[in-house]
Structure formats: C-alpha cells, structure tokens
C-alpha cells in the first residue's frame, strides 16, 4: 500500500509527535507514505472566515497536487482532513466555485479534475490495512489500559465517508485490536473548541472540562486523539481547568497512533512520547505495558 501524505502545518511544529508516530507505525506495517511535494496549509477555519474563494483555492491546490501523483491522499490532522474532503465535495457541487478555483490554479498550470481521494489514518489502518491484520502484529498488547477514544469534529462532520458520524467506532476497534479496553463515553465527538479554546478561554475551557469530566466518570486511563488541535486543547489546558475544577484528575492525552505504535513494540522515543506535557510512562509501567523499556531522559 502506498499513499500520498499530507502532513499539515501542525505536524511540522506542535503536533510533530503525531507525524512521528504515524510514520513509525506505517513503516512497521509496510505502508508507504510519500510526502506531497510543495503542499500548502489547508486554511483551517480561518481562511474560510476571511475569504471563501481563497479558502477553496487554497485547499483545492493540494487536491490538484495529489491528483497528479495518482495516489490516495492521507491527511492525519482532523482539520486538514475535513477541509480537503469538503473542498472536493463543493468543487463538484458548485459550478461557480469550480470556475473561480480552476481559474486561480491555472496560473500555476495546475488542474483539478475531481479525482483525488482523501483518507484519514483511522480509515487506512482500521479498514484498509485492517484490524485483523493489525492484531497479528502486536508485540506489546495494551493490556489493562482503558482508552477513551476522542474524535472531535472534522473527521466526522460535515462529511464522514468511512464512519458513522453519530456512533463512531473505528478508533475503538483499533484500540481493541491492540489489546486495550475501551472507556465508552457520550461526548466522544463533542467539539473541543478548536481555535476558540485558546483565544476565548471563558467559552472554550468549559467544553474541554465537560469532555474531561465525562471521560473521568467513565474511568478512562488515557485519551486517544486523532487531531493535533484536539490533542493540544485536551492536554495543555488541563492544568488551568483542574485549578477551577479540582475534582478532575490529570489524564494523559496521546495520539491514537502513539498507542498503536507502543503495541507494535516501537520504542517510546520514536513515537514522540517525550513531547507530551503529561507523561504517560508511569501509567504504562504501572499497567505492566512498559516494564522493561527505558524512559527518555527529557520526558519530565
């Protein structure tokens, strides 16, 4: 299996652990990822708020680049994935949008014919590689670890080609296949606040608190995420939230690819566990998952 890979800006800065762990897992499973040359920012929510022509041209440019490779495009960041998917749909649905965007791309001699297929790592690992095949590769089962899978918004909304947007189970299936238990909780697809969490904390932190409370009530040991902004919001603001709501206990927030990587026997360092703000190693040792592995020195 070979794919074109769209990292997104977060993967090259604050969310580097997602890229590192995803690529390490792919490498281990023999899935090839070839980074799309000269990919650009997807535009997130901001471009769409400033100018829609520019927003659709920006994301469709990536689709045109992907189409040229002839491979399916894999976008791990929830934000990028959602926007690329939406742009593709709208490009086909609205002739005026197509015309304006095609005009822009033609300045760079780019053409988009609407053939790019956008996929998420959840889909690639759970459905294309398959949970059964993954089960056979497990070297270090995540036994006794109760994982709360958190999807956030963009993987499920507005378009969810590989998943039931109201009752997502893909991440749960992946976690079960690597030996973990699941903490089911109702708010697994409730918004984390996205960019609002940081700039309007009085509104955003409430959302994160509700999600954390829900996970705690359902006895999650660790949160698995599939988007760098969700990961950041759930992890980085915990300290502030706990100050206001002392009943919440700190909980490590990982990328689902880091957990799969651990189960595949990949070293914690190669999965970017040293980049977590809330270390997970003590919990992993307590559960006997990381009994013999060395903890990276910078982890504290």
């Amino acid at each position: 299996m070979k794919f074109a890979y769209f990292p997104g800006c977060s993967a090259k800065t604050g969310g580097a652990a997602y890229e590192k762990s995803f690529l390490a897992v792919c490498d281990k499973l023999g899935i090839e990822m070839e980074e799309l040359d000269e990919w650009n920012c997807c535009g997130a929510t901001s471009y769409m708020s400033v100018d829609e022509s520019y927003a659709y041209a920006l994301s469709t440019r990536n689709l045109a680049l992907a189409e040229k490779t002839g491979m399916d495009l894999v976008a791990p960041c929830g934000g990028c994935y959602g926007i690329l998917l939406k742009s593709d749909h709208y490009y086909k649905r609205y002739p005026i949008l197509k015309q304006v965007v095609a005009d822009g791309l033609s300045h760079e001699n780019l053409v988009y014919e609407g053939k790019a297929v956008v996929r998420h790592p959840l889909e690639v690992l759970a459905q294309m590689f398959g949970t059964k095949a993954l089960r056979k590769e497990v070297k270090r089962p995540l036994k006794g670890l109760k994982v709360a899978c958190y999807y956030g918004c963009r993987i499920l909304r507005p378009i969810a080609p590989f998943e039931d947007m109201h009752h997502p189970q893909t991440m749960e299936n992946l976690m079960k296949s690597v030996g973990a238990r699941i903490a089911e909780y109702p708010l697994n697809a409730k918004c984390c606040g996205g960019a609002v969490a940081g700039v309007l904390p009085e509104a955003g932190l409430d959302l994160i608190w509700m999600i954390l409370r829900d996970i705690e009530r359902n006895e999650g040991d660790v949160i698995a995420t599939s988007c760098p902004l969700c990961q950041f919001n759930l992890e980085a603001y915990q300290e502030e939230i706990i100050r206001k709501h002392p009943e919440i206990k700190p909980i490590p927030v990982l990328y689902f690819t880091q957990l799969i990587g651990l189960a595949l026997g990949i070293e914690p360092r190669e999965l970017g566990l040293d980049r977590l703000l809330l270390p997970v190693e003590p919990l992993l040792r307590e559960k006997g998952i990381l009994a013999d592995a060395k903890v990276p020195a910078e982890a504290k």
Binding site: C41, G104, L200, A236
Partner: protein, 209 residues
C-alpha cells in the same frame, strides 16, 4: 450611544440585499427552509456563550438585519464544529452561513472591536498568503499581542512547558517556492458571482461595531 435602545426592529432596518448576498454563497442556498426549530441552538456546544443563538442569526440574516447579525458575537464564538449543520432537519448549511457572515464582517470591517477570533482569522490569512504554510506559535503570539497583551504574561508557564516539550517553534514554515503558490492564490473572483472583486491583500483593518 444613548442610554435607551430601541428593542424592536423597524422594517427600514432591513437590507434585503444582504440576505441575497448570503444566499448566493456555497452551502447557504437552503437558508429559507428554516422552520425555526432551534435544533442548531440546542446542539451548538457554544450557544450558551453567544449573544444571539444560531436560530436567531438565521432568522435575522434571511430578513436582512445586517447590523444585528454582524455586530453580535455569535459568528465569532462559533468554532465551526458543524454540529448544527449535520443535525439540521432541513439540511441547511448553518456552519456555511456562519462562514459567509464572517467573510462579510471582515470585508466590511464591521465586527466587535479587537475580537480575538476575528483577529486570529486575519493574522492566519496574512501569514499563509505570504508563506504558504502556518506556524501556530507565531500566530498565537501575534494574536495575543494584538488583542490582549497582558494575557501573554499569564500564558508564560504553558509557553515554557511547550518549549521543554519541543513544541514551540519560532522559525516560520515556508514553501520552497512561495511565489509559485501565490500565483494560484491571487486575483480570485468572489463566489457569489455578483459582487465586485475585492481588493487584494490590503483588507480593512476593521474595528468599531
């Protein structure tokens, strides 16, 4: 502004062309189907923090109450989670309407003064137009300096934790050939097919309500 404000709206407050401009944007064409059931407001995770709920925004928008819509904090509190859009029993693109309203607010410079999400959107746009990619930490820094410089001090602890975790980047991400990228992203016509093309790059700095 006086001490007493008129609580009711007059017919003359309406600008029907505003409603038409929104209707013409992709995803907004079903606005008039709205039955005012307020499912959007109920499922919205942030409606508790909005001056007007999404249901009210739809009603005011389709009736052309431009100033009421654009001056309310609602569109800038919206996190674009699409919950309203996927739950709407009439399949109205509510999140798309919110986006269309945001672009109107920014193009006309009419939004709550120094509102951080609006500043964030503009800073984000400027950075990516230039470099083709975004550096989150630089964006966050610029937004806080422009909207609430005191907050930077309050966030120093988080900053230090991020630096320790190698998650704080100050070197801007850039394409190898941003000039080529900029060719695709220039001189684009608006999507409503009617209004005149907007001026490039120099966007109104905006401010007062």
């Amino acid at each position: 502004m006086g001490q007493v404000q008129r609580a009711y709206r007059y017919e003359t407050d309406r600008d029907p062309s505003f409603a038409d401009e929104i209707r013409r944007m992709p995803g907004c064409e079903l606005m008039d189907r709205c039955i005012q059931c307020a499912t959007c407001s109920a499922v919205c995770p942030l409606s508790a923090h909005m001056e007007r709920t999404p249901r009210r925004i739809i009603e005011l928008t389709r009736n052309g109450f431009r100033n009421d819509v654009l001056s309310s904090n609602t569109i800038w509190v919206c996190a674009s989670c699409y919950q309203c859009q996927v739950e709407c029993p009439k399949q109205i693109g509510i999140t798309d309407i919110m986006y269309a309203l945001k672009t109107k607010a920014i193009a006309s410079g009419f939004y709550p003064k120094r509102f951080p999400t609006a500043v964030l959107a503009k800073e984000f746009f400027a950075q990516v137009q230039k470099n083709g990619r975004l550096t989150e930490t630089i964006l966050a820094q610029n937004v806080f300096l422009k909207t609430n410089p005191l907050k930077v001090w309050g966030m120093r602890k988080l900053g230090i934790r991020l630096i320790r975790a190698k998650r704080y980047h100050l070197k801007p991400l850039r394409l190898k050939h941003p000039q080529s990228f900029q060719q695709s992203l220039s001189g684009l016509k608006p999507l409503d097919g009617k209004s005149s093309p907007r001026p490039e790059a120099s966007r109104p700095t905006g401010g007062a309500r």
